[in-house]
Symmetry: C2
Subunit: 341 residues, 2 copies
């Protein structure tokens, strides 16, 4: 059912992606600090081939800032309620600047306490979660990230959405190499992939989504109009979504997924979703052989015909996009150029 | 293919389960402390209807202590490498006494630091992981648990086992009710369920396991003889198994799943697997409305026709087994009575 894209495409260098993104965000009312934080995440997503969290989402970011659904000039505030806890209130603004001010405090706390957490509340879509946990791993710490989103997955045995696609992400530092990063939603596929298929006029594969009556569908519009996302592995995906919900939404004091306004339209005010990150200093626990043991584990995977470590595709995309740039629909490029003015 | 059990059964009260378990463990050479710790876990598993981690596994526990594969008289040792980290070396003994001495230190650290972790290394099968995270939640803390096991899941794209069935477990305290507990393996089904089907001479459903050539099988013996467990949700289950491996095995300094000796036979010396628990005090983050928000989330689930919260079946089993006792194969009961002497 999935046909090749009928949409004319255009190629942009990563520098052009950065310039276009920054200009569009500032023109939509973001403060320079906020625009820098969001731009870095959009460029990283495009560089890694995750278009759905890159430029494909940018018009929505701009619209939400323009209409005031989120505050593009928000000043996030940081508190330290316990030695191991960092709390950042995103103040109805973008998630990225809130995470940016939280990370240095998280790093310091994790190194001192051995383990620490960063809870971000009253926030918004943070883009690719893997991007944020990778930054924690680049500071030498092992990281786990939880993110909630407006409800689109039904609970075990149910039909009505209760959880967001609620991704979990993991990263671990590797000596002499980029961190290993794993980032997976609780659904079979990230909801943003459905949005991209819709934008490109493509059908979605069966098994990704259900329509509003709970029937399997290949129509992205039917999936997005009151449908639900299929949880990965059935009840275990719904279970994972519940765990993520408890950390990202309940524990941070953010809106539950059932109460969050849409990430896709301009209605309902600030979504006020949450993010939760755990950082651990592996040094005191993993022992002097930690590096050799990590290499031993990864070799048992990469030594198998056909097997691969998570993140290999993204690493390959980084090399490719640095050289060749990225390809996006011509209509999207025109829309972004109009936004950038 | 799954036929009704042809095996004659016998009923035991939970008190009989406890007495029989304790006697069998002590007769197999366990110290009284170790026997108490392991017995509590076996009784809890039987009470919750998780027979595969209860009496079905007890003959193996006894055999491993008798032949010295694990040290039934081990004295676990506790260190505090950082304010937020508790490390317990199980010293080639059972996991249960190691977790038992680690939990009070974990509780104290989590309350003081806001977040803390317990890393158990040089350990062994810990039974139902949910049992341990539930104890953390009963202390008023939110908990996450990771456990590794001898390799039986292939990595993404591969065919040879690298990860254990590597469960993750979660628990959160509820005012006026038992904690909500979620406990799920990274495979479609826990490996112990295959062992139980084998013991009872029953076929396993298609989709649970692959034989040694990677072909789907309904024969539990083919699954156990060099086969692999199917990961839940395909590559996402393999991804979850990798995350769990990193916490439970790599971070704790325990044996990786590829290096751990079998939990099922007497060969290969101590498995030296690991467990990792994270405990968080929700008080400073979740806010004054935390209880109402939890009830609101759970009501959105239980209010749906057919939907249920995790742990409902186990809660129902507790009521039933307290009244009616548990039903186990007569041959197993005879074997345990012989072990108990």
């Amino acid at each position: 059912m999935s046909a090749p894209s009928p949409v004319p495409m255009v190629t942009l260098s990563l520098q052009q992606v950065e310039d276009l993104t920054f200009a569009a965000l500032v023109a939509s009312g973001l403060s320079l600090d906020n625009a820098h934080s969001v731009t870095a995440s959009v460029v990283a997503a495009e560089a890694e081939g995750v278009h759905s969290h890159g430029l494909a989402r940018l018009p929505t970011y701009c619209a939400h800032a323009s209409v005031g659904k989120i505050d593009g000039k928000a000043l996030p505030t940081l508190t330290r309620p316990r030695p191991g806890l960092v709390r950042v209130d995103a103040a109805d603004g973008f998630a990225h600047p809130a995470i940016d001010i939280g990370l240095p405090a998280l790093f310091e706390a994790a190194r001192t306490q051995g383990i620490a957490a960063l809870a971000v509340t009253n926030s918004y879509n943070c883009g690719v979660v893997g991007y944020h946990v990778e930054r924690i791993a680049k500071a030498g710490l092992m990281a786990l990230g939880f993110v909630n989103a407006p409800a689109s997955i039904a609970p075990m045995g149910g039909t009505k959405p209760v959880f967001g696609t609620n991704p979990i992400a993991f990263a671990v530092p590797q000596a002499g190499a980029d961190p290993l990063v794993l980032d997976q939603s609780s659904s079979v596929i990230a909801k943003s992939e459905i949005v991209v298929h819709d934008q490109r006029g493509e059908a979605i594969p069966l098994g990704w989504a259900l329509d509003k009556d709970g029937a399997p569908t290949t129509d992205p519009k039917a999936a997005l109009a009151g449908g639900t996302m299929v949880p990965s592995g059935g009840h275990k995906g719904a279970g994972m979504a519940l765990i993520v919900e408890m950390f990202a939404a309940w524990l941070t004091g953010a809106n539950l997924s059932i109460d969050a306004s849409s990430f896709a339209d301009n209605a309902g005010g600030s979504p006020r979703t949450g993010q939760f990150f755990i950082a651990i200093d592996p040094g005191p626990l993993a022992g002097p052989e930690a590096g050799a043991r990590l290499a031993h584990l990864f070799a048992a995977i990469t030594g198998q015909e056909g097997a691969r470590l998570p993140g290999m595709r993204r690493a390959a995309a980084r090399v490719r996009t640095a050289r060749e740039g990225v390809s996006i629909p011509k209509a999207l490029a025109a829309k972004l150029e109009a936004l950038a003015g």
